[in-house]
Amino acid sequence: MRNPRRRTSRSLFAVLVLASLTAITVDYQGGKESPLEPARDALGTFLGPVQEATAVVARPLQEVPGFFESNKALRDDLTRLQAENANLRSQLATTSELRYRAAELDGLLRASKSSDLALVPARVVTMGPGQSFSRTVTIDAGTSSGINPDMTVLNNDGLVGRVVRATRGSATVLLLVDQESVVGARLGSNAEVGFLRGRGTVDGDGRLDLDLVDNVETPGKDDVVVTFGSRNGSPYVPGIPIGTVEAVFSSPREQAKHAVIDPFVDFSSLDLVGVVVNADTKGDRPLIEAGDLPAGDAATGKED
């Protein structure tokens, strides 16, 4: 007693489910050479300008909740920031000697390692939905600006992530906080090495997990963590600040110590980022040379 209409809808349903499963299988097996990769590329190229235009409309609207912030909230902010400022001033006074030495060492490092590096400025256009459980964003610069997969992405606070895929005018960046992201990291204080993993959350309390290779030394609270670097600086160039140590755990069951890292970058409000490229890259946008980052660079326009 089935009606035929119901039967056609069932068979169409079966066909579509099979089609989805086929797509999953093909793409999963194909990996980087998946036959669906051209479709991704084409959609990215086709929709890139549309996404950029939408982002231009959406960015100012993001400020709207700020209009309703009360005088009291602003006053509270002011007091908090004044206290913080005073605190930082005192820290600055006591650490000027250390800062001087650090600056010297920085200069040395820069001369030896990153003198041939430069940044391509780009803006974040889209953010991957949280429902997809992967933390990725698209930036508005691609292969035409010299950006290729496995390049380091950073902003003025620290390491953001790496490029996983690039089309002509846009590139997809895997954020540091993604669960799939693993970064070799080094503790600033004692140069100990570990692996940094994301937790998949982007909000203010987004944290990273650092598994130290060695059990001998204990990282101190507020120690700075920087990238360890990979061969030829791909996907991560060395010495990029990542965050500070917030807490350290060690269990007798595990051999290594485990630290929780508070990243410098606020992943919920990413906007202007830079992609690390070779200094001799010829692209359609001007490069920012490493080492001499002028405040309010002309190439980026809206440096803040």
């Binding site: 169409l12 349903f13 579509l16 797509a23 999953i24 479709a39 429902q131 964003v137 959350t201």
Partner: protein, 170 residues
């Protein structure tokens, strides 16, 4: 005319995907955005039945899977939304004009879609999603979809009622 209708639906779905990742990316709650494609698919299911909804679910799902910055294995959202389209199409016969039924369908669809997506991710380890993370995201996604439903469902349903092949009067 079927070609023009198909093109209209594809454009609608692409617009939904772009808005979802670009516009609502700026208004996300811990990265979770309203799933506009899901709302369009549910609207199709409530007005036009399971065939069209499942088909739109497949096209829209593939769009979510392929439009950057998606980084998951393609076909996972497509599978989730095909199932959702089919289920939403099944409810329609009795009471498609009731607001409560529509909202209930959105809630159920959102739950099924995000859960199916998380499950396929757990099976493929793409990425290996911890259950706690999935349980945290699913209710947020459901709430956000419900919040947007009153703004998206009525115009979408009106459009699906208007843009349909001519039928013999009965």
């Amino acid at each position: 005319m079927p070609l023009a209708r198909g093109l209209l639906f594809v454009l609608l779905l692409l617009a939904a995907v772009v808005l979802q990742v670009t516009f609502f990316g700026y208004f996300s709650y811990d990265g979770v955005v309203p799933n506009l494609v899901l709302l369009v698919v549910v609207a199709a299911g409530l007005t036009r039945g399971p065939e069209l909804a499942a088909l739109l679910g497949f096209v829209g799902g593939m769009a979510i899977d392929l439009v950057p910055p998606a980084d998951n294995v393609a076909g996972r959202w497509a599978l989730a939304l095909v199932v959702v389209g089919y289920l939403a199409g099944r409810v329609r016969q009795d009471a498609s004009r009731s607001t409560l039924v529509a909202l209930g369908t959105v809630a159920a669809s959102s739950f099924v879609a995000t859960s199916l997506f998380a499950l396929s991710g757990m099976l493929l380890r793409d990425p290996a999603i911890p259950v706690a993370e999935a349980l945290r995201v699913i209710p947020v996604a459901l709430a956000y979809d419900l919040l947007l439903a009153p703004f998206v469902l009525p115009p979408a349903m009106r459009m699906f009622r208007r843009v349909r092949p001519h039928q013999v009067a009965y």
